[in-house]
Structure formats: C-alpha cells, structure tokens
Amino acid sequence: MSAEARPPADKAKLRADHVRMVFTRDSKSTPVLEDISLDVSAGEFVCLVGPSGCGKTTLLNTMAGFLSPTSGSISIDGELVRGPDARRIFVFQERGVFPWLTVEGNIAFGLAKLSRAQREQRVAHYIKMVGLQGFEDAYPSELSGGMKQRLEVARALAVDPDMLYLDEPFGSLDSITRLTMRGELLRIWEAERKTIVLVTHDIDEAVQLADRVVVMSARPATIQRIVRVDIAHPRDISSPRYLELRDGIFEQIGLAHKI
C-alpha cells in the first residue's frame, strides 16, 4: 500500500513546520490550517488534494509568501519565507497573465534585468516550448483559455525559478485541453526538474502527476495522509496499481468512486 515515507530532513527544499492559520474577520476567527507539517524535497512533484474550501489554496499562498502563517513557519533551502520571491513563481490559473501585454511582453515580464539579446532568446525559447509560435504579438484576449494557461506557465519558467506553485492550473479548461496540459507540464517538469507544488481538487489529476499526493481534511485543514505514487512515468491510468492508489484516496476523502 501507500508508503508514508518522508525524505530525510536535511534534503528538504521546502519545509512547512507546524503551520497554523487563523483568519479573523468581524471579530470572528476561523481556523483554516491546523498544524501542517510537510517537507518537499528538491525536484519533487507534490499535489495537495482535499475537499473544496478546505484551505489548500491558503496553504499554497502561505508557501509562496503571499500570506504569513498565524503560527509555525515555512522555510525554503533553510531560509524563512518572508514574502514572494522570483525564485518561486506562483501560477494563478490563466487569470494571472497581464492583459495589457502581448504574449512576448508577458513572457519577458520577469526578465528586465537581462540584456536585450538574452531576453529575446529566452522569450523565443519558451514560446516554442509551450507552442505559442505565431502568437508572439497577440494579446491575451485573443487567446483561448488553454493558450493563456500555457502563456502563464511560460512566463513563470522564463525566470528560471527553483519552484513552481500551481493553484488548480487546469480547473477552468475543457477536458481535452486539460489532458494535453497535464502531459505538457510533466514534460516540462522532466526537462527542467523544478520543484512543483500543485493544488487540485481532481484526484485523478493528482495521481497522474505527483510523486506524492498530500490528502487534506475539511477545514480546518490537517494532513490526513500522504500517498507516494510509485509508478514510473508515463503512467498507465488503467493499471491496477494506479486504480488502487486512486481509489484509496477517494476512500480516504470519503467518496465512493461510483456514480
């Protein structure tokens, strides 16, 4: 069955240490995250799954430095996270692309410090990688949802970050585009070996992509279980092992996988 193996502590790329988060609004406090401890090692692909509204996105925002935890800490490479950083890029579905910039302008957004030649070369490389050739001068409003999504991933990759945080990146895409994008993301991950933390409510997606799937409980979120997906890529999604792991998670969340 699923192993709960954690990587040795000294190899952790990202470490969440007893993270608690309480939101206070109108003098009412809502606990959102409850004592979350998690290590992610360098180059690992981790998916966070859980019921909707459980606090997965809050945890991702905390890891990225957009929110600071009420107590506990997030550290990366042994350094405390105090805010967002260009070494770790957050991909906000396709909503994060800047609509006033062209495809080229978006990808070059984080590259202001490079020389013009380097910048152009980097932009061309990532346009090709995500298959947006011919759309260099197009504005996001002229692109489909899937293209905007690829554009945002390209913009993130262009600054060569160590880590990517993806918040339900394929949630708004149609099922065919979603499958293609999963394949693209795996291809990019295998080529560039970034550390990836991806939030999804889609358990199939998590088991198809991740090295480890972190199953979270309803709010206030705790880590219920961590499932290691010990299937090599490309994964056969009808193999008994795949189905066993997937059904185990469905059961854990309390869903019978039947309609």
């Binding site: 967002p84 950083d85 906000f92 909503r95 994060g96 800047f98 006033w100 984080g110 202001a112 504005y139």
Partner: protein, 252 residues
C-alpha cells in the same frame, strides 16, 4: 459598413429637418427659427468672426479646467486608492461634495475670481475634479489582486510595481472616466459662460436672446455645441481602440 447603412442617419436627419421646416412655415407664431434661418444665423456669426472667437474661448476654458482637474485628481486618486486608510478617510467627504452641482458654486466662483475666464475655468475644474478623483480611486481598488501578486512575485520593487502593473491596469478605466468627464466639462462651460463671462458659446446663446431675440443664433449656438461635443467624444473614444488598452473593453 456598406454605403446604405452609413447613409441611414444622414437620411433620417434630412427627414427631420424637412419636417421642422414644414412645421415652422405652417405655424406663423415663430416659436422656432427654420433650419435655413439657423444656417443663415451661423453664416452671420462666421462673417462677423464671432463663431471662431467664441468656439476658441469655450474650448480654452474647457481645456484649462479639464487639464488642471486631471493633473490634480488622477495622481491624488491613484494614491488614495492605493492606500486603503487614505481612502477610508477621504471617501465620506467626497460623497458630500460629489452631489453638489458645479453650478451651485457660481456665486462663490464670481466672489473669488470675479467675472472672467478664471471663474469659468474654476467651475469646469470643480465639475471635473470630483468625478475624476472617484474614477481614479475606484480604478485602483478594482485592480484584481492577482495582477499585484504576480507583479510582486516577479520581484518588482514598489516603484516598478506602480509603473509596470498599476498604471497599465488602471489606464482603460481612467480613459473612460476622462471621456465622460470631458463631456461634463463641455456641458458646464455653457452654463458658466451664461453668467460669468462675456464670450464663448454659452454667452452667445444668452446674448442672442437678450439683444433682440435672435433665436436663429440661439439654435445655431446649440447646434455648434452639439457638434463640438461629438468631436470631443469621438476623439477620446478613438484612444480606446489602442491595442494595449482594448483588453478592458472587450466582452470576452
């Protein structure tokens, strides 16, 4: 667009003018000048060199009042919108000033600036300042937080964030605000000139009535005001088709 569609408004206007001409000529009470009378009146104004002079006077006042308001209100509004606390402090005061018609300021404007250009410029300034301030504040408040977060994520410093994310994000909304406000300024200049000065298109209308009931000149003035308003609005609208602004106006 094909020619027939383009001609439609022209034909419609021609029909209305014809109806106007017939209605007035059948009614001897002279409650309205005829279209030909109005054209002749505008011709009179042109011959005396008054039309050009009055149009320039009105545009001059609008330009100054509008520009001063934009230069002050836009940066102030962007700043206030950026700092939530400043917005909470300023907002109630704005809500009180906003519903006061700029025309209610006429007595104070004359008291402070006398009769002349500066008081009408002041009135136009007031008419533009509050709506522009509100537009600027709201345009910042309406920026989706995802753009700001993305900007911060790429390591932008505050000044870069303002220049590279805030400005482009608010520009489309600001342009709409500027266009609407310019229309308001053009409305207000006519009223201001009726009272506070002795030139301009507003003055023309009052003066034509007072000095011998020249209603052909009154209606002529109205037509010129309408046409110039249309030109101003079209010019501002053409800015909205610039590619890097257009995203905000698409229905997509």
């Amino acid at each position: 667009m094909n020619l027939r569609v383009q001609l439609r408004p022209v034909i419609f206007i021609a029909l209305l003018l014809a109806a106007w001409q017939i209605a007035v000529s059948r009614n001897p009470a002279h409650i309205l000048p005829t279209p030909f009378g109005v054209i002749a009146g505008i011709g009179d104004l042109l011959r005396h060199g008054l039309l050009f002079k009055y149009v320039v006077a009105s545009l001059f006042r609008v330009t100054w009042g509008f520009t001063l308001a934009a230069v002050l209100a836009v940066p102030l509004g962007l700043t206030v919108g950026w700092y939530r606390r400043a917005e909470m402090a300023v907002s109630p005061l704005l809500q009180i000033f906003r519903p006061i018609s700029p025309l209610a300021w006429i007595p104070l404007a004359i008291l402070w600036f006398g009769v002349g250009d500066s008081s009408s410029v002041f009135l136009i300034f007031l008419a533009c300042f509050f709506p522009l301030l509100l537009t600027a504040i709201n345009s910042v408040r309406n920026i989706p937080s995802v753009y700001i977060n993305a900007g911060r994520n790429f390591g932008l410093r505050r000044s870069e964030l303002i220049y590279r994310v805030l400005f482009p994000a608010v520009l489309p909304q600001l342009l709409i605000g500027l266009r609407i406000t310019l229309g308001v300024a053009w409305l207000v200049v006519v009223a201001a000139e009726m009272i506070a000065v002795d030139s301009g298109l507003g003055f023309l209308i009052v003066d034509a009535r007072n000095a011998g009931n020249r209603y052909d000149l009154v209606v002529g003035g109205m037509v010129i005001i309408g046409l110039i308003g249309l030109v101003l609005d079209t010019a501002m609208r053409s800015l909205e088709t610039v590619k890097s602004f257009r995203w905000a106006y698409s229905t997509d």
